[in-house]
């Protein structure tokens, strides 16, 4: 198996280097060699390796019955074998077992007829394709429902070898296909993904979809919520949208669906927090990813909080509060704690009182004779940026005073240190090389002060130091 994987990786590398025209040709040949339904192992494995480039090139691929089968829920498909995030997602790995079930349990003649009908359509004949699609989805829904109805689930011979994830996905696909045509219409009305802001027309479209779904089975309302979540740019908007629907057409949306939207959102934030917590446990000196993750969490919590303001969902609010508390403690631990040490390491340090009097003024000045250590400067900048980025959310996290104190004391310390060094340096009598090095240290102090405390304060410091060095003296590499 490993050998085969190695071979595939090798082929993948070679494929990625092919010119686009050749690549297109190979895709065409492979598509032709695929059976109409059912999968060919080697071809399928190869196609899976080609998928990233196929997506990038957005090649119009041959429309097969299997691809048409997936069309209604294609926006919910993800590569992740265990999809995470807000709303239901289907892993691509589940397509094969699900399609196999349809093919094995379905009427071969009926499927063959659909294949023939599909072959008669060109890619441009979207309406004809959609018509074949509707027949297929409705038929496949019937096949899956019939199979799933067997005494509390799938028969053992089918379940054997199937992952739990695939089983869950098949149940979801079965529900989805029951109302596929309704959802296709809803998707058309929602327009291109992602939907930045839901308008009255969008809400009308969702209400119409819910009416149609309710006529089939009210339990499928969750699928409409999932489609909406896949469409929204800001998933937290879902709470507001379902509230608007509840206000406009209360009869069409059940309390469970309203709760589902909120829960999906909270789960999503919790999931992100779990990943950030893992990152925090692993991260050593590297903080950029951690800070980015934390910021994502904070803005999600704030978004979700806003969305829940008008709702009486105490459970969701409680969960959000817990998340907020956890995020705040992570920020305090990884951004605030020891921020001063990390930032000030790049700025010249005045001597401690206890240091020997004759050496006290000399050592820090000696340090200024060499160019700033790039690693220390980078670490100080990273820390200052992390502080500044998280400061935006300090109030929401209940860390306002701590951030204010930290920024204030850091700002003062940088200013004090730079001024202290400036009065002790006799720039005029320094050789050019040493002057350049000293100037470079001052620019580091100005830069770090700007990142921590803002441009006005940093520019004041620059003006004060200006008199002591001729700007801009570019430090040597």
């Amino acid at each position: 198996m490993k050998e085969r994987d190695d071979e595939l990786t090798l082929i993948e590398k070679r494929l990625s280097k092919l010119p686009p025209s050749k690549f297109r040709e190979i895709v065409g040949v492979l598509e032709e060699s695929r059976p109409d339904f059912g999968s060919a192992g080697a071809v399928e494995a190869l196609m899976s390796k080609m998928r990233p480039r196929l997506v990038r090139m957005k090649l119009a691929r041959k429309l097969t019955l299997q691809r048409l089968f997936c069309r209604p829920f294609e926006e919910l498909l993800v590569n992740d074998p265990e999809p995470k995030g807000v709303g239901t997602r289907i892993t691509r790995r589940s397509i094969e077992p699900c399609w196999k079930l349809v093919v094995d349990r379905g009427d071969a003649k009926k499927l063959q007829r659909l294949v023939t009908n599909l072959r008669l359509c060109s890619n441009e004949e979207t309406r004809k394709v959609e018509r074949v699609g509707r027949q297929l989805w409705s038929y496949a829904a019937g096949v899956l429902r019939g199979t799933l109805r067997v005494r509390g689930g799938l028969p053992d011979e089918i379940v054997a070898g199937m992952s739990e994830r695939a089983y869950r996905d098949i149940l979801f696909i079965a529900d989805y296909l029951q109302i596929a045509d309704v959802l296709q219409e809803l998707k058309r009305k929602l327009g291109r993904r992602p939907l930045r802001k839901a308008t009255a027309e969008h809400i009308d479209a969702v209400v119409t979809a819910l009416e149609a779904v309710n006529a089939v089975n009210r339990e499928y309302q969750h699928v409409v919520i999932d489609v909406l979540l896949a469409w929204l740019k800001y998933p937290s908007d879902i709470v507001g949208i379902v509230d608007r629907i509840a206000a406009e057409a209360k009869a069409e949306i059940d309390e469970e669906s309203l709760a589902l939207a909120g829960e999906a959102l909270v789960e999503d934030v919790e999931e992100k927090l779990r990943s950030v917590t893992g990152l925090a446990a692993r991260s050593g000196g590297e903080r950029a990813d951690l800070v980015r993750g934390l910021r994502g969490c904070v803005s999600d919590v704030i978004g979700a909080h806003g969305a829940f303001q008008s709702r009486a969902s105490t459970t969701a609010m409680r969960r959000l509060e817990r998340i907020r508390g956890k995020v705040a403690s992570l920020v305090a631990e990884h951004v605030l704690k020891e921020a001063d040490i990390r930032v000030l390491t790049a700025v010249p340090r005045p001597p401690e009182r206890s240091e020997a009097a004759d050496m006290s003024d000399v050592l820090p000045m000696v340090a200024l004779e060499a160019l700033p250590d790039p690693t220390r400067v980078q670490a100080a900048e990273d820390q200052a940026i992390a502080l500044r980025l998280c400061a935006k959310y300090a109030e929401e996290l209940g860390l306002g005073p701590e951030f204010f104190d930290s920024v204030e004391s850091l700002g003062r310390a940088i200013e004090d240190r730079a001024r202290w060094a400036a009065v002790r340096l006799d720039m005029a009598s320094m050789p050019a090389e040493r002057r350049e090095a000293a100037v470079a240290h001052f620019y580091v102090a100005i830069r770090v002060l700007e990142l921590v405390a803002g441009s006005d304060r940093a520019d004041n410091l620059r003006r004060q130091l200006m008199g002591r060095f001729a700007p801009p003296a570019a430090p040597a590499a």
Binding site: V55, R56, K58, R192, P194, K233, P374, V377, Q378, E381, I385, R388, L389, V439, A440, Y443, V444, I446, R447, E450, L451, G454, S455, D456, A458, D459, R462, P471, P472, A473, A474, P475, A477
Partner: protein
């Protein structure tokens, strides 16, 4: 935000490059990619396109900038430096910008890239100079004499070069030193594009190629995207194609002088004047393109939303050729493009226009700066 004593231009289509102004690589988001120009009566002023998210270009007196905007320290220093420049041309602005960037006020990566870019400029001058010397010897001796880099490494070689240069210089009744000084002056003038045959792609020649690639890439993207950004992208493509075409024509004009060294050196004063004028025009023409090319390269075309935002930003920054800088036939094309630009200008990302110093946007601009120099070094 109040814009004191600012003027507003609707459908701004400048008459000359000087009126269009030179791009200043500010890192304050609201001022990013704005242009500076000198007006006889009013002195320096800054042109900010789409300041209020609209189609207008605002003209702000240079001296009132700090009072109107909260600028980054980098930008405050750059503003002061530009004030002291003899002229606000793209080359002068570039020099000042590299000096300020190398202080590290726009971050370490940007400082490093600026220092390397400055080194790259020096290399271009040296290599172009050496190539012109060897080419002059080759052409003027009818291919009989040749000098190579190895001659520079030992005393005998250097003496040989001197002797050869004296012989060649005598053809123009010049001393070897005067002859060399001419070639050096020539090299300084054309170094940003280099000379044909030079085994090194100089900065502006690379940029012309990059603009052409940019047009191809963006057109491919536009063919697949069917949103309102498609029309905007096509306008960008057309402007890029026209610019790359005009720039190539000028570069070919400059290259011709190197192909006929005898003619150039015989009519030295006039030739140098024409070469310098062509180079000045080329520099103005290409001014503002590096950030656009960099912006698109930093965009993932597969991420539709990001790519559409990038198109909106690029449209705001598109350098349109001024009215009087193009021939009568091209004027109609550029007039149409200028109008298309106004018609299709879509709302840029509102964060850029908020007037606040948003640290994330500043960091993004600093990254662009570093990336822009990296591309230029290739």
């Amino acid at each position: 935000m109040t814009v004191t004593s600012a003027q507003k231009h609707d459908n701004f289509w400048p008459a000359t490059f000087e009126e269009r102004g030179a791009v200043v690589p500010f890192t304050t988001p609201v001022l990013a990619f704005s242009r500076v120009r000198t007006q006889e009566e009013r002195g320096l002023e800054l042109l900010v396109p789409g300041l209020a998210g609209g189609r207008d270009t605002y003209v702000i007196p240079w001296r009132s900038l700090p009072a109107v905007f909260v600028m980054t320290v980098h930008d405050r220093l750059l503003r002061e430096q530009i004030e002291t420049l003899p002229a606000s041309t793209p080359s002068e602005i570039r020099g000042a910008a590299l000096d300020v960037e190398s202080t590290g006020l726009a971050g370490r990566a940007s400082a490093e890239a600026a220092r390397q870019a400055a080194g790259g400029d020096e290399s271009e001058k040296l290599l172009t100079n050496f190539f012109l010397v060897t080419e002059a010897v080759r052409q003027l001796s009818g291919g009989k004499l040749q000098i190579g880099p190895a001659d520079l490494t030992h005393e005998a070689g250097r003496s040989r070069i001197k002797a050869i240069l004296s012989r060649v210089a005598a053809l123009f009744k010049l001393t070897a030193d005067d002859f060399y000084a001419r070639l050096e002056r020539w090299a300084v003038a054309v170094a940003p594009i280099g000379v044909p045959g030079l085994n090194y792609t100089c900065r502006l020649r690379q940029l012309i190629a990059d603009i052409a690639d940019y047009a191809d890439d963006l057109e491919t993207w536009a063919d697949r995207d069917l949103s309102e950004a498609t029309d905007s992208a096509r306008v960008c493509v057309q402007i890029a194609e026209e610019t790359a075409g005009s720039a190539r024509t000028i570069a070919t004009g400059v290259d011709r002088y190197a192909a006929d060294m005898r003619g150039t050196l015989n009519d030295w004063r006039a030739s140098l004047e024409r070469v310098e004028a062509l180079m000045a025009k080329l520099t103005w023409m290409l001014d503002g393109w590096r950030p656009i090319v960099t912006l698109w390269r930093a965009t993932d075309p597969g991420n539709r939303e990001q790519a559409q935002d990038a198109v909106g930003e690029m449209l705001r920054l598109m350098p349109i050729m001024p009215r009087r800088e193009v021939g009568s036939r091209a004027r109609r094309t550029w007039g149409d493009l200028s109008q298309s630009l106004q018609r299709t200008r879509i709302k840029a990302h509102e964060d850029w226009l908020s007037g606040k110093v948003d640290i994330e946007l500043v960091l993004r601009l600093e990254r662009f700066k570093a990336m822009g120099h990296e591309r230029a070094r290739r």
